[in-house]
């Protein structure tokens, strides 16, 4: 007993010192606030998605585009909800009567970050570079626009002549960014048109310039003081920080180490949204989620089987899985797509109808198995698979759930033979033009992840082709309505829901503007400021 006395008093002392330190440290915590560099306020945006590179001609995804549109300008820009493209570097444009020639008049006084003027030649060169390299956004225009048909007629006028009229043309231009040719070519290596240099550098004239890159980790931008449009509020710069774990993002937001977080899980979002000083934004996006059938695969090549499965699915689950932050699709097109109409007869849970359809198929009693492929580790898609298992039990159809990496899923979907019977797909069209969605159901999309349905309807394909080359919206509108109806009739997928974007930010962040055209986790820094 005697020997234990010193030990006990030591433990007691450690506990007292520990408790005192806890109180002291907690009391001496700095006030949680935004970062500063000197007197400038710095906004910190946390995202789960790394930025593989920043070259506007080579690649785009949510994180890349977030940085690209902060550092570069396009001729047009998407803003608002519903989204619309507005004049940006091009202050106005004219279209010829044959709808093939577009003349863009550039704003005067726009400069690149190094002080060079933004000229028509820079626009021409940037478009030509993207077309020549044949990567990234080149697919949007390369079938209709040749580099030699882009002319800089004077310092501020660019003329683009399309091979044939292409209705969605303008809707793609916000994603074609203008680079400084002198700066890029000064860093060219072995004729690469500056590709190596532009991985971690920029040559733009957008609202922010690049200050610092820590690849895969952190990107610091600073306000471009000579930006031609000026700024709403004062913001010194932005740090785009990659924080991969949802719980770590939540902790960073609460501690004030991040001002905006873009990718909390639904549960984390619920927790944070109840805290003081947090502002949440939950708006439906352009992104749709559906379970794509391979319409050429065994069993599901039969329309009645596809209908039966679609009527057996519990659509409420789509909403519940996102804690209510989703909206069911009422058409194959999402709400923000131009020309979207509500289609009567979109399947809802109706078991009697499901059995009726199955009875018309060669397998009236079911007794077969279908494969459901989803992204490994993506719990939302796993839950949807579990719902599918329950939903198809009454039809005596079993489901084999196969989790794969995204890369493997893309590989599986790339051929009709390997594409699974059902694949969970989130698809985000790059423009609000209905062609951006309709084309996903055209044979030219087969093999792409959203074309894993191998949907083959010559009449629908002809309608899609016809509509994209008509110039009058009045003529296009009824065609797209017909396309929406036909897609629902043919059921190449279980049309699911539009997941709402879930963004949380601290109440000192002002100017946040939502636009459904942005991808999950994509943020436009330009209107933001700190107060």
């Amino acid at each position: 007993m005697e020997r234990n006395k010193p030990m006990k008093s030591m433990i007691k002392m450690v506990l007292i010192v520990g408790a005192a330190m806890t109180v002291l440290v907690t009391l001496s915590l700095p006030a949680m606030a935004f970062e500063r560099r000197g007197n400038e306020k710095i906004l910190v945006v946390a995202s789960r998605q790394k930025v593989p590179m920043m070259d506007p001609s080579i690649k785009y995804d949510a994180s890349i585009r977030t940085l690209q549109q902060a550092m570069y300008d396009g001729l047009l820009k998407y803003v608002g909800n519903p989204p619309e493209f507005v004049p940006w570097l091009a202050e106005s444009w004219d279209v010829s009567d044959d709808k093939r020639t577009y003349t863009f008049n550039l704003v005067k006084g726009a400069k690149f970050h190094n002080g060079d003027p933004v000229t028509a030649e820079a626009v021409r060169w940037s478009y030509a570079r993207t077309l020549k390299l044949g990567k990234g956004p080149s697919w949007m225009l390369d079938a209709f626009l040749k580099a030699e048909n882009i002319k800089a007629v004077d310092e501020n006028t660019v003329v683009m002549t399309l091979d044939r009229p292409f209705a969605p043309f303008l809707s793609f231009l916000p994603w074609w960014f203008v680079m400084n040719p002198q700066q890029v070519m000064a860093n060219e290596v072995d004729g690469d048109m500056g590709q190596k240099w532009l991985i971690d550098n920029e040559a733009g004239g957008g609202p922010f310039s690049l200050r610092r890159v820590e690849p895969g980790n952190l990107y610091e931008l600073e306000r471009f003081k000579g930006y031609w449009r000026g700024f709403k509020g004062k913001l010194g710069g932005v740090i785009f920080k990659v924080i991969r774990e949802s719980s770590a993002q939540r902790a960073a937001l609460i501690k004030g180490e991040a001002d905006i977080v873009t990718s909390l899980s639904p549960d984390e979002f619920d927790i944070v949204s109840k805290l003081d000083g947090m502002i949440t934004s939950t708006e439906p996006a352009l992104t749709t989620f559906g379970l794509k059938f391979n319409t050429k695969a065994e069993y599901v090549s039969d329309l009645n089987v596809r209908k039966a499965i679609s009527y057996a699915y519990d659509y409420d689950a789509f909403i519940k899985i996102f804690n209510g932050r989703a909206k069911l699709q009422t058409s194959p097109f999402s709400d923000a797509i131009k020309g979207k109409i509500n289609i009567a007869g979109m399947p809802t849970l109706d078991l009697a109808k499901a059995k009726e359809y199955l009875a018309k198929s060669p397998w009236p009693d079911g007794g077969f198995e279908i494969e459901y492929v989803y992204v490994q580790g993506f719990d939302v898609e796993r839950q949807m698979g579990l719902v599918l298992i329950d939903a198809l039990k009454p039809l005596n159809i079993s489901v084999n759930m196969v989790p794969l990496t995204w890369s493997s899923m893309v590989g599986r979907g790339s051929t009709v033979e390997t594409s699974p019977q059902l694949m969970a797909i989130f698809a985000t069209p790059v423009s609000t033009d209905p062609d951006a969605v309709a084309i996903q159901y055209h044979p030219s999309s087969w093999g792409r992840y959203y074309g894993s349905h191998y949907y083959d309807n010559e009449e629908v394909a002809a309608l899609i082709e016809k509509a994209r080359f008509l110039s009058s919206w009045e003529e296009r509108k009824p065609i797209y309505e017909e396309i929406q109806r036909r897609l629902v009739e043919d059921q190449p997928e279980i049309f699911g829901m539009m997941r709402k974007r879930m963004i949380v930010y601290r109440d000192w962040v002002k100017g946040y503007e939502y636009s459904p055209v942005r991808m999950t986790e994509e943020v436009d820094f330009y209107p933001l400021y700190i107060e």
């Binding site: 806890t22 500063r36 590179m53 990567k135 902790a251 180490e257 794969l404 790339s414």
Partner: protein
């Protein structure tokens, strides 16, 4: 000893070639289309084919392997299909962060694990022994990911004693690289505030990573010490009036350290390969995270690059341990 060293060295080279062949085969045979993934979701088939040709993915697998080996021998580690960055540049960026974290973790494990093992053995069946054993069982049982999150939430968020993650504060710019090791570079550049910041940031991830190793070291060391303390020569030394502390530290511990040393070597290698969870939780820009992200993207050359570095490091560590083993135990030298 020279023969022993040469034999181990040769074995290491053979193992590395085997590792390369296996990793190359597995990563290339696994389903997935890296070209399609790199080209982007909307890419046309022509765009995908262009990338496939650019990266030589259209060639037969054995040809691809030979081209890769030829490149490696010429110092060309290839480039990432996803980011187009040179793999060597990436390794130089990411490996030092992992190396620093692992070195700190292993130092922490050894500095705490060996004395705790000795104390537990010397005080066998005391309250202290039971307490140490309980902690070590927890160390083996608790998932590292969960432990990291808990430490982060409690010490990082709740008490705010430590940063939530990262190697240094966001606003601090990294020192101009010399060795690419942040702590060392900040010391060499005389940026002592950055060094302090770096130390402050490494504590939670290092503790998290070291916990399983600490537990293993304590357990092995305790067991070996117990065995050694029962030996006749220990009884003899004590009977001759040599102090207990001297007997334990000089005679017993030296002999008990052999299996512990092997354990440290293995743990060092495991830590290098197993940092991914800690790097993910603490946002540590290291090689583990890099390798996993490359695997998810089916990005072959970064996978190969990371495998070579991690594999080589594992082998070198164990090679050094083997040599040390030989130096500590003359019987090992005699056998070889």
């Amino acid at each position: 000893m020279l023969y022993f060293t040469l034999r181990r060295g040769l074995l290491m080279v053979l193992m590395l070639i085997g590792l390369l062949a296996i990793t190359f085969s597995i990563s290339h045979i696994a389903p997935g289309d890296p070209a399609a993934l790199a080209a982007g979701p909307d890419a046309t088939l022509e765009m995908i084919e262009r990338i496939r040709t650019e990266y030589g993915l259209d060639k037969p697998l054995p040809v691809q392997f030979l081209i890769y080996l030829k490149g490696i021998l010429a110092g060309d580690w290839g480039k990432s299909i996803h980011t187009t960055r040179l793999v060597w540049d990436d390794l130089v960026t990411y490996f030092p962060a992992t190396f620093e974290l692992v070195v700190f973790s292993i130092l922490f494990s050894v500095a705490l694990g060996v004395p705790l093992g000795v104390i537990a053995a010397v005080k066998q069946n005391s309250m202290l022994d039971h307490a140490i054993r309980t902690v070590t069982v927890a160390g083996v049982a608790i998932p590292m990911f969960w432990l990291g999150l808990m430490l982060q939430l409690f010490f990082g968020l709740q008490l705010a004693w430590f940063p939530l993650g990262g190697q240094i504060e966001m606003m601090t710019e990294r020192p101009e690289p010399i060795t690419h090791l942040l702590l060392l570079d900040s010391l060499l550049r005389g940026e002592f505030s950055t060094f302090t910041e770096g130390l402050y940031h490494i504590i939670l991830p290092a503790v998290t990573l070291s916990f399983p190793a600490l537990a293993s070291i304590v357990r092995v060391n305790r067991a070996e010490m117990l065995e050694t303390l029962k030996q006749d020569y220990i009884t003899n030394a004590l009977a001759q009036g040599i102090s207990r502390l001297r007997v334990v530290a000089m005679y017993a511990l030296r002999n008990a350290m052999l299996p512990t040393l092997a354990m440290i070597g293995l743990r060092f290698g495991w830590m290098l390969g197993g940092t991914i969870l800690v790097e993910s939780v603490f946002n540590w820009p290291g090689l583990g995270l890099y390798a996993v992200e490359a695997a998810i993207d089916s990005d072959f050359e970064p996978i190969m690059g990371a495998t070579i570095v991690l594999g080589l490091f594992f082998m070198v560590t164990n090679f050094v341990i083997d040599i040390l083993y030989g130096l500590l135990d003359p019987r090992v030298r005699a056998q070889t």
